[in-house]
C-alpha cells in the first residue's frame, strides 16, 4: 500500500515528451528517500513503436508501466483518465504526478475528480518534512512561497515545465505491462477527427543559454518585438512576463514563471520586468541575471547580478544599434 510513485509519461509520435522525463528527477529523489518504487506510466496503442526512443531507455525510474490498447492511439481525455484512475485503484500508489503540459492539465484534474482526491497545480519544488511530502509554489504576497500538502492519497500534482532538469539513468528501466480488468469499458465520448500539426517549431526557451525577457516596462508591442533582434544577436530566446502575453505582445508559450516555463540560462536579461515571485521562480536559477528597470526598488533588481537603472526601450535601442 502506498509503496509506489507514478509519473505520467506523455507520448507524441512515438516519443516521450521531455516534460515527463523532467518530472522524474525530483520524484526519483523522493522515491529513494521514502523507499518507494518510481514508475513512468505510458498509455499507448502499441508499445513496440516506442522501441526506437532512446530517451525512454535512459528514463530515471524503476519501471515503465505500460497500458496497451488500440483505443489509446489518440489522446481522449475521458478514456485516458478512466484508464489512469483504474491503474491507481489497482496499485494504490503514494503519489501520481503530471507535467504541466496541456495534456497533463487536461488529465490530472479529471483523475483527481474521479477519485475525489486533492491536486496541487504547477508545483516548483518537492520536499520532505518528517517523511511528509511538501509541494512548493508561489502564492499571494510579495515573494511569498506556499508549502502545500495533500490530506488524501494518492498525493497528486502537476509540476511546472522546465522547473527540473532531465537526469539519465545508467540502466534501462524494467518494462511492465499492466492489464486492466477484462470488463474495463474502453469506450469514449470523444472521437479525434484530425490533428493539424503546428508548422511552427516549438521554441527552445527552457533549454536556451541566453534568455532575453521583457515585461510591461517595455511599454509597447513594437518595443517588445525588438527583443527578437537582440535574442538573435546573442544566440538566445525571447521570454516574457504574464501581462505581456495577456496583452498579446507575444505568444503565451514564451511566458516565464509558475504558469509558464522555467528557464536556467547562462545569461538572463530582463527589460522592464518588476520581478514578481510568480515570474522569478521561473528564472531564479539563471547563472547571470541582468535587470533593466527605471525603478531601483523593483524586486528583480534585488536578485540581479547587475542592474541598469534606466529606460528599457532606450537601452534596448542603443544595444541594437551597437550590435548591428
Amino acid at each position: 500500500m502506498h509503496n509506489l510513485i507514478i509519473a505520467f509519461g506523455e507520448v507524441y509520435q512515438n516519443k516521450i515528451n521531455p516534460a515527463s522525463l523532467e518530472i522524474l528527477t525530483p520524484l526519483w529523489e523522493i522515491s529513494r528517500a521514502l523507499q518507494k518504487g518510481l514508475s513512468l506510466l505510458i498509455l499507448t496503442d502499441n508499445f513496440s513503436k516506442l522501441d526506437e526512443d532512446i530517451d525512454l531507455k535512459k528514463a530515471l525510474c524503476d519501471e515503465i508501466l505500460v497500458v496497451e490498447n488500440r483505443e489509446l492511439a489518440e489522446f481522449k481525455d475521458d478514456l485516458y483518465s478512466k484508464v489512469i484512475s483504474s491503474v491507481i485503484t489497482h496499485l494504490n500508489p503514494y503519489g501520481v504526478f503530471f507535467p504541466a503540459t496541456l495534456q497533463g492539465m487536461a488529465l490530472a484534474p479529471r483523475v483527481a475528480g474521479e477519485l475525489g482526491v486533492g491536486l496541487c497545480a504547477h508545483v516548483n519544488a518537492l520536499e520532505l518534512e518528517d517523511d511528509k511530502l511538501i509541494m512548493i509554489r508561489p502564492t499571494y504576497g510579495d515573494n511569498i512561497m506556499a508549502k502545500l500538502f495533500s490530506k488524501s492519497f494518492p498525493i497528486m500534482a502537476t509540476l511546472s515545465l522546465g522547473a527540473f532538469s532531465i537526469r539519465e539513468k545508467g540502466e534501462k528501466p524494467i518494462i511492465k505491462k499492466f492489464d486492466l480488468p477484462e470488463d474495463f469499458d474502453w469506450s469514449s465520448k470523444i472521437r479525434v477527427k484530425k490533428l493539424k500539426a503546428t508548422k511552427k517549431e516549438m521554441n527552445r526557451l527552457s533549454v536556451a543559454k541566453v534568455v532575453v525577457a521583457g515585461g510591461l516596462g517595455l511599454k509597447s508591442r513594437e518595443n517588445f518585438q525588438k527583443l527578437f533582434d537582440l535574442a538573435e544577436a546573442l544566440g538566445g530566446e525571447v521570454g516574457a512576463t504574464r501581462p505581456v502575453c495577456h496583452a498579446g505582445w507575444v505568444e503565451e508559450d514564451r511566458m516565464i514563471g509558475v504558469s509558464g516555463v522555467s528557464v536556467k540560462p547562462k545569461l538572463y536579461l530582463g527589460f522592464g520586468i518588476s520581478g514578481a515571485i510568480q515570474h522569478t521562480v521561473g528564472m531564479e536559477n539563471s547563472e547571470f541575471i541582468i535587470a533593466i528597470n527605471t525603478d531601483e526598488g523593483a524586486p528583480l533588481i534585488k536578485m540581479a547580478h547587475i542592474s541598469l537603472i534606466g529606460d528599457a526601450e532606450k537601452i534596448l535601442d542603443y544595444l541594437l544599434k551597437r550590435l548591428k
Binding site: 484534474p109 502564492t139 479525434v192 547580478h305
Partner: protein, 269 residues
C-alpha cells in the same frame, strides 16, 4: 440542443488585491471583483451558440455576494438566466471543493448539452476546475477549445494542443474550457444593462444544493497550506546608473568579457 451553462468567476481587480497577512490567501470579500478575463471567451462563445441554435444560456458563478454585478454583466451580453452560488461554507475551497459545488448545481440544470468555462482563472492559474467538474459528473471534457459547431446531436470542437490544432467530435453533454483568445467580443446591450439594474436572480446555498458541509470550502479541500515562507534575495549585484547610451556600452563590454558576444565579435571585426 438542450441548454448551455456558463460558469464564470470574479477575480480581484489588478492592483486592488488584498492578501491576508496570516494565511496568505486572497481576501475575496473585500476585493473589487472583475470578470475573470478568460471567462469572456466562454460567455462570447455561449452567446454565439445561442444565436445560431436558439438555445437557452444559463450563467452561474460561485463566490461571495459581490460577484452579483458580474452576473448582471453576463445578462447584458444575453444570458437568459443567472444563478449565484453563495454560502460561507464555500469559502476557502480548493479546486476539488469548488468543482463539487459547480457539479451539483450543473446536475440540477439537467437536461443540458454543454457547459462552458474559461480555460483558467487569472488569480489561480490552475485550469483544473472544468475537467474536475466534468469528472465528478462523469462527463467528457475538452480544454483549450478555440472553435465549436454542432450538428446531428454532436459537437465539433477544435482545441489547441501542444502539438497543433486538433478536431474532435464529441457526444453531449460535455464540459469545455475556452481558450481566452477570440477575434471578437460583443459589447453588452445597453437595454439589457438597464434591465439588469434591478434584476433579481436565484441564489443558492449549500443547503439548497443538498451538499454536505464537510465536503465544502476549506474543510472539504484535500489540499492544504502547511505554511508560507518569504524568499529573500540579498542585494547581491552592482547597480549601474547613467545615460542609456553609456549603460548600453557598458553592458556590451561586459557581455564581450563574459564571452557572450563571441559570435558577434567575429562579425564586427
Amino acid at each position: 440542443m438542450e441548454r448551455i451553462i456558463v460558469c464564470i468567476k470574479g477575480v480581484p481587480r489588478p492592483g486592488t488585491v488584498k492578501v491576508d497577512p496570516e494565511t496568505h490567501t486572497l481576501k475575496r470579500e473585500s476585493a473589487e471583483l472583475i470578470l475573470n478575463p478568460p471567462d469572456r471567451a466562454a460567455l462570447e462563445m455561449a452567446m454565439r451558440l445561442r444565436e445560431r441554435y436558439g438555445v437557452e444560456v444559463v450563467v452561474m458563478s460561485m463566490g461571495p455576494p459581490n460577484v452579483a454585478p458580474l452576473l448582471k454583466e453576463a445578462f447584458a451580453l444575453g444570458a437568459d438566466e443567472l444563478i449565484l452560488l453563495s454560502d460561507r461554507a464555500f469559502a476557502g475551497a480548493d479546486t476539488l471543493a469548488t468543482s463539487r459545488v459547480l457539479a451539483q448545481a450543473i446536475r440540477g440544470l439537467t437536461p443540458f448539452s454543454l457547459v462552458i468555462m474559461g480555460l483558467k482563472s487569472v488569480d489561480g492559474e490552475t485550469a483544473q476546475v472544468p475537467p474536475e467538474t466534468a469528472a465528478i459528473l462523469n462527463l467528457p471534457s475538452v480544454i483549450n477549445v478555440i472553435d465549436i459547431s454542432y450538428s446531428n446531436n454532436r459537437f465539433y470542437l477544435t482545441r489547441e494542443t501542444n502539438y497543433g490544432e486538433e478536431e474532435l467530435e464529441v457526444e453531449p453533454p460535455l464540459i469545455i474550457s475556452m481558450n481566452p483568445k477570440l477575434e471578437y467580443f460583443r459589447p453588452p446591450s445597453l437595454k439589457r444593462l438597464l434591465q439588469a439594474r434591478d434584476l433579481s436572480f436565484k441564489s443558492m446555498t449549500a443547503q439548497d444544493l443538498n451538499l454536505a458541509e464537510d465536503l465544502l470550502g476549506l474543510k472539504g479541500s484535500p489540499t492544504q497550506v502547511a505554511g508560507v515562507f518569504e524568499k529573500v534575495f540579498s542585494q547581491r549585484g552592482e547597480v549601474w546608473k547613467g545615460e542609456p547610451e553609456e549603460l548600453a556600452d557598458k553592458l556590451i563590454n561586459l557581455l564581450r568579457e563574459k564571452g557572450l558576444l563571441q559570435k558577434l565579435a567575429l562579425i564586427n571585426r
